[in-house]
Amino acid sequence: MSRTLRFAPYNVGRWLVWGLTAILFAILPLVFTKGFAITLLSQMGIMIVFALSYNMIFGQGGMLSFGHAVYSGLGAFFAIHAMNWVGDGLVWIPISLIPLVGGVFGAVFGVIFGYVTTKKSGVPFAMITLGIGEMVFAAVLMFPGFFGGEGGISTDRVVGEPFLGISYGPAVQVYYLIAVWCFVSMLAMFAFSRTPLGRISNAVRDNPERAEFIGYNTQRVRFLVVVASAFFAGIAGGLSAINFEIVTAENVSALRSGGVLLATFIGGAMFFFGPVLGAVIFIYFAVALSEFTDAWQFYLGVFFVLTVMYAPGGVASLILMNLRVARFGLFNRLWTPYAKVLAASAVLLAGVIMVVEMSYHLTLGMSMSDTVSVFGIDLDARGAMAWIAAALILAAGGWLFSLTRRHFMDAWGGVQTMIEDRIKREQGA
């Protein structure tokens, strides 16, 4: 049939994307060889698994959870204990398979907590996950025997004989372990989204009532999806146990649960690859940007708010919409407005950064000196000149932005209308 013909190129494209992803994972540490870069990449890999697992329930299943770190964190605790048992010679598990221990225990807690949470949907579901998150966090601190109290549980991942020279001592070996697990988990979660259960979870997200009238127990669907998602969250937890060699109460905290929600939303919950982008951006903010500024969380927050307000489909939807414009050959209409609005945004951003950095410098008073370095320029945070300059740049940026924004929105809207007209004409023909 023509159907198979029509879908063939699409599948080739899919193979290509997965192949390129695998190659990218393999060569990244050859390009970025610095220790810090490897650390960054490893954490991105872990976060990708975590964010994709979150999106199974959030973007795909329509369940807003405030307690997803419970599954990754508890998975991590069991994984790190497993590593210590291996070290003590109590059990024999290759370190390469430790993430699976995290995954299994993640799923076990998915069964236990998911049974409770998925009795409800919508806002009650969100509230229950919040409550369970707090409960587990408290319980972790209450049982220091197993969870190690404030200090958490630490381990040494270099146990047993090196296998084929792999001891997991060097960070790059850990990176490759994470990369392999990340790639396999991505594939598995993608495949899940193409199964009957995965698709029905989309249907339950869109319209739970109708799903009941096509034969599905929506509570059962939500439960199964939460368990599957908790399994992959547990794998992320197991990977983090290997990577950091320590697991603390922070791993199950609301901070982590909020972080994965932030990352997923920024990336774009409506697209499978959205959380991948979100995880990369989030880790960049949390690990790389935090090296430069204490205000990284402020910037992340601003970025999140702007995403929610102006690009609710996340970075993924921005990319796809621009690709669509390019495919219809209309990008030439947007170059100028884009250049203008981006230049104005840069000025505005520079002003914001100056104000934020100087404010942080004054209020936190981490260093004795009054000078703060922004973009390599030393500013006197107590001097009037720097503040006047910042205010002027901020005002100019704001003014320029308001001017160019309107122009850009008009051009953008016009292009979108043209594209939709063309699509309509094609379908009509």
Partner: protein, 264 residues
């Protein structure tokens, strides 16, 4: 729609597909359904008519399990389905549509239909089958798309369809499981004359050989389509008969003060 079509007697076997016995429903202190008894035969096209607020849609909600009944008994093919959840009733072969379009708006037309075929084809909650490899689901989905005339819109998001297209999709989802008993709640609501004629044709086509129960306001649709009609007034069935007899029924005429069926 020519009226004489319905005067031919239905190919009914005499067996009962759906049976309601003294079904009652209270909302708080108000009794909305006040003892409905109804027999729908296998293969019959049965219309439920009545003034606004008579309880027609509530009756559908009780049959399909959306609301629990307060008292009474509902049987599907001789088996008691009273008090079952909607998905359990659906699995026993009763499928319904909604008066207000109730579709999966962020899925494509194709996915909307395919989702509705999955449970009945035995894939249930499977996460070990690949959707793209399910030949039977694909085949049935194609068949339904063709019957409801939406093949050319297969990849469109359901939420972006026109109203008439969404109504057709609503019917497509309803019949996709292959249920033997189909309940349609005002399938032509909000349609123009020509759209409505088109919809009636569609309903005739897709429910061929099945048992159809429908709530309908448009009298020309009802008299053109139904083998038998039940008139619900104030939570009770005041008459069940073939269209010709319903027209001349005094009680029905009184219930429809100011409306004459001759107009329809």
């Amino acid at each position: 729609m020519a009226e004489h079509e319905s005067t031919a007697m239905p190919p009914v076997s005499g067996a009962t597909a759906l049976k309601l016995t003294d079904v009652r429903k209270h909302f708080g202190k108000t009794e909305i359904i006040r003892g409905v008894t109804l027999d729908v035969r296998k293969g019959e096209r049965h219309a439920i008519i009545g003034p606004n607020g008579a309880g027609k849609s509530t009756l559908f909600n009780l049959i399909s399990g959306r609301f629990p009944v307060t008292a009474g008994r509902i049987e599907l093919d001789g088996r008691d389905i009273t008090g079952l959840a909607p998905f359990e009733i659906n699995r026993r072969g009763l499928s319904r549509s909604f008066q207000i379009t109730n579709i999966f708006h962020r899925l494509s037309v194709y996915e909307n239909i395919r989702c509705a075929t999955l449970y009945a084809l035995g894939y249930r909650y499977s996460f070990w089958h690949r959707l793209s490899k399910l030949a039977d689901a694909a085949e049935r989905t194609e068949h339904i798309l063709q019957r409801i005339g939406l093949q050319h819109r297969r990849d469109a998001l359901a939420g972006l369809l026109t109203y008439a297209e969404q109504r057709a999709l609503e019917i497509g989802i309803t019949i996709a499981s292959g249920a033997e008993v189909i309940l349609l709640d005002e399938p032509t609501a909000g349609m123009s004359r020509s759209e409505s004629d088109h919809a009636v044709e569609l309903i005739m086509r897709v429910t061929e050989g099945k048992t159809l129960v429908m709530v309908e306001h448009d009298m020309s649709v009802v008299f053109g389509l139904a083998h038998r009609i039940s008139v619900v007034v104030y939570g009770q069935v005041i008459a069940t008969d073939v269209p010709a007899s319903i027209k001349s029924n005094r009680a029905v005429q009184e219930a429809y003060l100011g409306t004459t069926f001759a107009d329809a």
